[in-house]
């Protein structure tokens, strides 16, 4: 088994807000992140897949294909968007809207990619909100 990691970047705006709470409670818990005008980050996404090396091609996955999947499933949806207003998982119209934290971005991206990469298993989705803060999602199951 071999692990292969591909990176992609996107820039997006967001804010943290729980509609079930008062404004004071949102400000207390989320601080500056609760500014409803939003703020933004340059995110870095690292997607790691696990698989066996194909004896003919020497690939676990075709990197170009993986790049295209990251582009179509994630970057084209997230890049230069406001997560709370334009990305379905985080919008008020979602059945259970997620607060667009780094943790929830990792989960949402995992769910978008799971089962989409041919010949390999999704192993880890890492999202850097900034170089000193990141979240890893290893899939659904035991926490």
């Amino acid at each position: 088994m071999l692990l292969l990691t591909r990176k992609a970047d996107f820039s997006a705006a967001h804010f943290y807000w729980n509609p079930a709470w008062s404004e004071a409670e949102n400000l207390r818990v989320f601080g500056r992140c609760a500014n409803r005008q939003g703020h933004g980050h340059n995110y870095t996404l690292e997607v790691t897949v696990a698989g066996e090396v194909d004896p003919v091609t020497g690939f676990v996955v075709d990197l170009k294909q993986l790049k295209d999947i990251l582009e179509s499933e994630v970057v084209s949806v997230f890049d230069h968007r406001h997560l709370n207003h334009e990305v379905p998982e985080f919008m008020p119209t979602a059945a259970a809207p997620l607060v667009p934290t780094t943790e929830n971005l990792a989960i949402a991206i995992w769910r978008r990619l799971e089962g989409k990469v041919p010949h390999a298993r999704l192993h880890r989705v890492r999202v850097y909100e900034m170089p000193d803060l990141f979240a890893d999602c290893f899939g659904e199951g035991v926490a």
Partner: protein, 144 residues
């Protein structure tokens, strides 16, 4: 809904000096074992400490832990004592060589006291070319 398995990692930076020297060894043996790290007046590094926590995501906040609480904890318990300090003078290293291995164990001890999430991994970069991972009794993964 199933429970996603998520880790949150935060990196902290501090600069400190140290000297690798074991009192149990002769001066010659210290020089042999520790080389230039045994130079008598010490030397220093820009350390990067990366701590990884696991825990259920609070559905109300979308967070494994309150980052402001973790930063405040790190400021008090890691950065205040360690930044711009001589590691050999700190209580943890009075009788223990301040290698990055031992620093990992001390940082692990410090952050296991953080009450709001479960510490999973300590990853310390002593220089851009040296990194160490420690997970207490568990087998560590690599922090990169």
């Amino acid at each position: 809904m199933s429970r996603p398995h998520v880790h949150l990692s935060r990196r902290y930076h501090f600069s400190a000096s140290h000297r690798l020297h074991a009192d149990a060894l002769s001066p010659e043996r210290n020089r042999e074992v520790f080389g230039k790290c045994n130079n008598p007046f010490g030397h220093g590094h820009n350390y990067v400490v990366q701590v990884t926590f696991a825990g259920p995501i609070d559905p109300a906040t979308g967070m494994v832990l309150d980052l402001a609480a973790l930063d405040s904890f790190a400021q008090t318990n890691l950065l205040a004592p360690f930044d711009h300090a001589n590691l050999n003078t700190l209580p943890a290293f009075l009788d223990t060589v301040p290698t990055t291995e031992n620093l990992c164990r001390e940082v692990w001890r410090i952050f296991t006291e953080f009450p709001h999430a479960t510490l999973r991994l300590v990853h310390i970069e002593e220089t851009g070319n040296n990194a160490f991972d420690y997970a207490g009794e568990a087998v560590p993964t690599t922090g990169n």
